[in-house]
């Protein structure tokens, strides 16, 4: 049995040092950025830093990568959960509503991206060094 293009894939992997787990991590980050892009439009804005505290943390887990996203302020939880509060801009459920909407086709989408990244040698290392990280606990009280 032969696989068309396998030499090219191997060359790419050798050059970039990218494995499928790395490509999967990059695919999860791409999904995280998509959630952020839409969630930011729905985030209430009222003089605080909530909308500026969004983050998509780089993948963790050597074998089963996980990507965490969220907002890094203590008051985010009631803003997200209290459904009857009035917000001049945005509204509650500004994260979960986006995640819900993107859940349909999630597995296929991530899988397709991961395979595409794998073939092209795109991994977590391609994530810009300035990508936001999860805020430290010291900054959560802001």
């Amino acid at each position: 049995m032969s696989v068309t293009g396998d030499k090219e894939i191997l060359q790419n992997l050798k050059r970039a040092g990218v494995g499928i787990v790395d490509a999967l991590g990059a695919a999860l980050m791409k999904e995280g950025y998509a959630v952020w892009a839409e969630g930011a439009k729905r985030t209430p804005v009222d003089g605080g830093i909530l909308i500026r505290s969004w983050y998509v943390a780089p993948p963790t887990g050597a074998r089963n990568p996980e990507v965490e996203l969220g907002v890094g302020t203590k008051y985010a939880l009631p803003v997200h959960e209290v459904l009857d509060a009035f917000h001049p801009v945005g509204g509650p459920r500004f994260i979960s509503s986006v995640v819900d909407e993107r859940r349909a086709g999630y597995v296929k989408r991530i899988s397709d991206w991961a395979w595409d990244f794998f073939r092209r040698g795109v991994g977590v290392a391609t994530i810009p060094k300035l990508a936001p990280e999860k805020p430290s606990s010291e900054s959560e009280g802001v």
Partner: protein, 136 residues
Amino acid sequence: MATDPDGDLVTYLAANIAALTANVNLFASKRQAAGDGIPHLAVFVLATGGPGPEAYVEGGSGDERRYSAVQVMSRSAPDEYNASKTLARLILNTLHHATITGYLDVRVLETEPNYLGEDDSGDHLWTSNFELFHEE
């Protein structure tokens, strides 16, 4: 079978938690201000959407799975923090994997209730979020 996710949870909670009575201190609605017959210690159950339906056959028009999202908010008076925490945990444990007619499963999305702090009256607020898995 037609389902009414928030109404069905109210019915189930009223039948399984002695302290809760539908339309007395348990409501299928958004939060209502205390007073005029609405007690401080009250529970509000509200459908909040959920992900889109998933067809068993992609692109097909037959049976599909649905995941209805429901938020349960518990509120208590300022001096009832411990009671409200106990009630919020009881609700979470009562509903998680509850057997409710019309649903294949009920799943809580957080391990513990979310404590939201105090509202303008000093009442304590807690929420738990659930997904009700059913077929249509």
